[in-house]
C-alpha cells in the first residue's frame, strides 16, 4: 500500500483515508467537493493539508467526523481509524452518522478546532458550560470534577486566571483567547487525532505564532497526531511533518514537508510555493501568482482539473485523461502526466 513508504517508520498510521469521495447533490448539479482523496495520519505526527479555498480540504475534515450536512454525502472511499493496537480498526465511512459509535469518536478520539473563533462558541452559554458539556459527554465524571478538569485545561492552554474566565461568555474573550479555549475544548477528552481547520486564519500574526506554538507543544506532550488544514504554506512549513496538497477535491501531491518545499513535483505545488514571499527575493520584485482562478465546481474541466491554469499542460493528454496519484520518488507522490503516462482509456 502506497502510504506505507511515505511514513517509512513502519508502525501503522492512526487514520487512513482511501479514495474518499464526498459529493454535494444540489438542484443545480453535483458538486464533487472531495473526489478521491487519499492520505494517512501517523501517530504523534502532523499532517498538513494545503490548498486554495474551495479545494475540498475542509469537507475532508468534516467527512472524517461524519458531520457533512445535506445535501452532502460520502459516496465512496474509506476512513480507517486504528484504535489501541489490539482493537479492530473501524471504517468511519461505514458508520451510521447519527449513531452512538461515531458520536463517541467525535470529540472523543477525534477532535476538531476550526477557523472561526468568533462564532464557534454559542454566545448563550459560558465557555465553561460548553467545555464541561464535552467532557461529560465522553467521560463519566461529575459536574464539579468536570469543572476542575476544565479549569486545568484552560490553564494548560495558557488562559490567565482560568477559574474566573471559565464563567465568562465567548464574546468577552479576545480572538486569541477564544482560539485557545477552542483548543482546550478539543483536548478536553485527550483525543488521538486533532483536526485543526485553518486554526489561525482569523488571528493576527503574533497570536498566530502563539497558537501554533501551543499546538506544537501540546502535541509534543500528548503524542496525538494532528491534521492541520490551511491555505498558508507558512503554517505548513512551521507545523507539518507530511504535506498533502489538494486541488479541486483531489490530492495532487503528497510527501514529507521538506521534500514538498524543496523538490515539489506538481506544477500546482510549485506554483503555490512560488507565491510565498521570500526574504531572499529581490526587493520590490512582483510576487508571482497562479494564473487564472479556481473554476466553478459545476464546470470542472475535463482531464486534469488543473490543466487550464497549468503552464506545462500537454494538450491532448492533460485535457483528456485524469492523472492518478502515483509515486514520483521514494517518499513522494504526485498526480501529473509529467511523471507518468495516462491509463489507456480516458477516465472521467
Amino acid at each position: 500500500m502506497a502510504n506505507r513508504e511515505i511514513n517509512g517508520e513502519g508502525q501503522p498510521p492512526v487514520l487512513t483515508v482511501n479514495n474518499l469521495k464526498t459529493h454535494f447533490f444540489t438542484d443545480e448539479g453535483t458538486v464533487k467537493a472531495v473526489d478521491g482523496a487519499s492520505f494517512s495520519a501517523p501517530a504523534g505526527k502532523t499532517v498538513g493539508i494545503v490548498g486554495e479555498s474551495g479545494c475540498g480540504k475542509s469537507v475532508t475534515a468534516l467527512s472524517i467526523l461524519r458531520i457533512v450536512q445535506k445535501p452532502g454525502r460520502i459516496v465512496d472511499g474509506e476512513i480507517i481509524l486504528r484504535r489501541a493496537d489490539d482493537a479492530e480498526p473501524v471504517d468511519l465511512a461505514k458508520l451510521d452518522a447519527e449513531g452512538g459509535a461515531i458520536r463517541a469518536i467525535r470529540g472523543g478520539e477525534i477532535a476538531l478546532v476550526f477557523q472561526e473563533p468568533m462564532t464557534s462558541f454559542s454566545p448563550h452559554y459560558t465557555i465553561g458550560n460548553q467545555i464541561v458539556e464535552t467532557i461529560r459527554l465522553h467521560q463519566d465524571v461529575g459536574k464539579a470534577e468536570a469543572r476542575n478538569r476544565t479549569i486545568e485545561l484552560l490553564r494548560m492552554v495558557g488562559i490567565p486566571r482560568p477559574e474566573r474566565r471559565i464563567d465568562e461568555y465567548p464574546f468577552e474573550l479576545s480572538g486569541g483567547l477564544r482560539q485557545r479555549v477552542m483548543i482546550a475544548m478539543a483536548l478536553s477528552c485527550n483525543p488521538k487525532i486533532l483536526i485543526a481547520d485553518e486554526p489561525t486564519t482569523a488571528l493576527d500574526v503574533t497570536t498566530q505564532a502563539q497558537i501554533l506554538d501551543l499546538l506544537r507543544e501540546i502535541q509534543a506532550r500528548t503524542q496525538m497526531s494532528v491534521i492541520i488544514i490551511t491555505h498558508d504554506m507558512g503554517v505548513i512549513a512551521e507545523m507539518a511533518d507530511d504535506v498533502i496538497v489538494m486541488y479541486l477535491g483531489r490530492v495532487v501531491e503528497s510527501g514529507p514537508v521538506d521534500e514538498i518545499f524543496h523538490r515539489a513535483k506538481h506544477p500546482y505545488t510549485q506554483a503555490l510555493l512560488r507565491s510565498i514571499p521570500s526574504i531572499f527575493a529581490a526587493p520590490r520584485s512582483k510576487l508571482p501568482t497562479i494564473a487564472g482562478s479556481i473554476p466553478h465546481p459545476h464546470n470542472r474541466p475535463a482531464g486534469c482539473p488543473f490543466h487550464p491554469r497549468c503552464a506545462e499542460r500537454m494538450m491532448g493528454k492533460c485535457d483528456v485523461h485524469i492523472p492518478r496519484l502515483r509515486p514520483v520518488s521514494r517518499r513522494q507522490m504526485a498526480s501529473c502526466f509529467l511523471y507518468h503516462e495516462p491509463d489507456e482509456a480516458p477516465i472521467t
Partner: protein, 330 residues
C-alpha cells in the same frame, strides 16, 4: 443598566400619554355621542323616544362641553384614580372591568399556551426538516387556523357543541356557576370552558409563531457553533434544543409585549360569537354606544399593558441573551 431602565421608563410614560390621547380621539371620531347612540337603541327596542329624552340626557352627562375639555376632565379624574362612570352601564368603569379583566387574561393565556404548544414543535420541525413532506403537512396544519375565519369557526363549533354534545352555549361558566362566588368548583368549571376559545384563538396565532421560529432556526442552524457542538459528538436532538432553539427563542420573548393586545383584538370577535364575559365584547359595545369613559379606559389599559409588556420582554431579553446584557452594561 439602570440609566437604560430609566430612559426606557420615561419613554414608556410618553407612549402611554400618547395612547390616552389617541384612545380618546378614536372614541370621539364617530359623529354623534353617547346620547344619539342610546336613543337609537331605545328606539329600536320599541321605546317611544321624544326629543325631551336627548335634551335631558345630554344635560345629565355634561356631553355639551367640547372634546378637549372632556379629555382634560377625564385625565383629571384619572389622576385621582377615578376612571369615571360607564355612561351605558351606569356604573364605575373599574367595577365593570374588574372580573372581565381576569377572565380575559385566562382566555388569552390559555390561547397563548395553546399557540406555543402548537407552533414551537412545528416551527422547529419544519426548520430542521425543511421541505420534507412532513414539513409541508405540519406547516399546513399550523396555518389552517390563520385561514379559517375565526368567527365562522366559533359559530359552527358552538352549534355542533349544542346539537351533538349538549354543551352549554357560549360563555365561560355553566349556569349553575354563573352566580356562585369563586370556588375550586367554579375554577374547574372555567377550565372546562377554556379549550374551545383557546383553540380557536390559538390556531389563528400559530402561523405567525411557526414562521418566526422556522426563520430564526434556519438562521441559527447555519451557525458554526452548531458544527462545533456536532464535532463534540452531541446527539442531534439535544444539540438542536440546547443551542439553536435557545437562540431562536429570543424573538418570541421580544414579541411577548405585543401578544396581549394582539390576542385581545383578535379575541374580540370570537369572544362576541362565543359570548365570553371578557374585555373584548365590553370594549366593542362601549365603542358602538360611544360610552367614552369605558371604551377609553379599556383602550388605555390595553395600551399600558403593551408598554409594560414590551418593557418586561426587554428585561427578559437581557436575561436570556447575555450579549444584549453586556451591550446594555456599557
Amino acid at each position: 443598566m439602570l440609566a437604560y431602565a430609566i430612559r426606557r421608563f420615561l419613554l414608556a410614560l410618553l407612549t402611554i400619554w400618547a395612547i390616552s390621547v389617541l384612545a380618546f380621539a378614536i372614541i370621539q371620531l364617530p359623529p354623534g355621542d353617547y346620547v344619539t347612540a342610546y336613543i337609537a337603541q331605545l328606539a329600536s327596542s320599541g321605546v317611544d323616544v321624544t326629543p325631551e329624552f336627548a335634551e335631558n340626557l345630554r344635560q345629565q352627562y355634561g356631553l355639551d362641553s367640547p372634546v378637549w375639555v372632556q379629555y382634560l376632565k377625564w385625565m383629571e379624574q384619572i389622576s385621582r384614580g377615578n376612571f369615571g362612570r360607564s355612561l351605558e352601564w351606569r356604573a364605575p368603569v373599574l367595577d365593570m372591568i374588574g372580573d372581565r379583566l381576569w377572565l380575559t387574561m385566562a382566555v388569552s393565556l390559555s390561547a397563548v399556551l395553546f399557540t406555543w404548544a402548537l407552533a414551537l414543535p412545528i416551527g422547529i420541525y419544519s426548520a430542521v426538516r425543511q421541505y420534507s413532506i412532513a414539513d409541508y403537512i405540519f406547516t399546513f396544519i399550523g396555518f389552517i387556523g390563520l385561514a379559517v375565519p375565526s368567527f365562522l369557526l366559533a359559530l359552527i363549533l358552538m352549534y355542533v357543541g349544542f346539537r351533538y354534545f349538549g354543551a352549554n352555549i357560549g360563555g365561560l361558566f355553566s349556569p349553575e356557576y354563573q352566580l356562585a362566588d369563586w370556588s375550586p368548583g367554579k375554577v374547574w368549571d372555567l377550565i372546562k370552558h377554556l379549550p374551545l376559545p383557546a383553540i380557536i384563538l390559538g390556531m389563528a396565532g400559530a402561523a405567525q409563531l411557526i414562521r418566526i421560529m422556522r426563520a430564526n432556526l434556519l438562521d441559527e442552524l447555519r451557525k458554526p457553533y452548531v458544527i462545533t457542538a456536532r464535532a463534540k459528538g452531541m446527539s442531534e436532538f439535544r444539540l438542536i434544543l440546547k443551542y439553536p432553539v435557545r437562540a431562536a427563542l429570543n424573538p418570541f420573548v421580544s414579541t411577548l409585549g405585543y401578544l396581549f393586545p394582539f390576542i385581545i383584538s383578535g379575541s374580540i370577535i370570537v369572544a362576541l360569537v362565543l359570548s365570553l364575559p371578557t374585555i373584548g365584547p365590553l370594549l366593542l359595545r362601549a365603542l358602538v354606544s360611544q360610552d367614552m369613559f369605558l371604551a377609553g379606559t379599556i383602550v388605555l389599559f390595553l395600551g399600558i399593558m403593551t408598554v409594560i409588556g414590551t418593557f418586561i420582554s426587554d428585561i427578559l431579553l437581557m436575561w436570556i441573551d447575555p450579549r444584549i446584557r453586556f451591550e446594555r452594561r456599557e
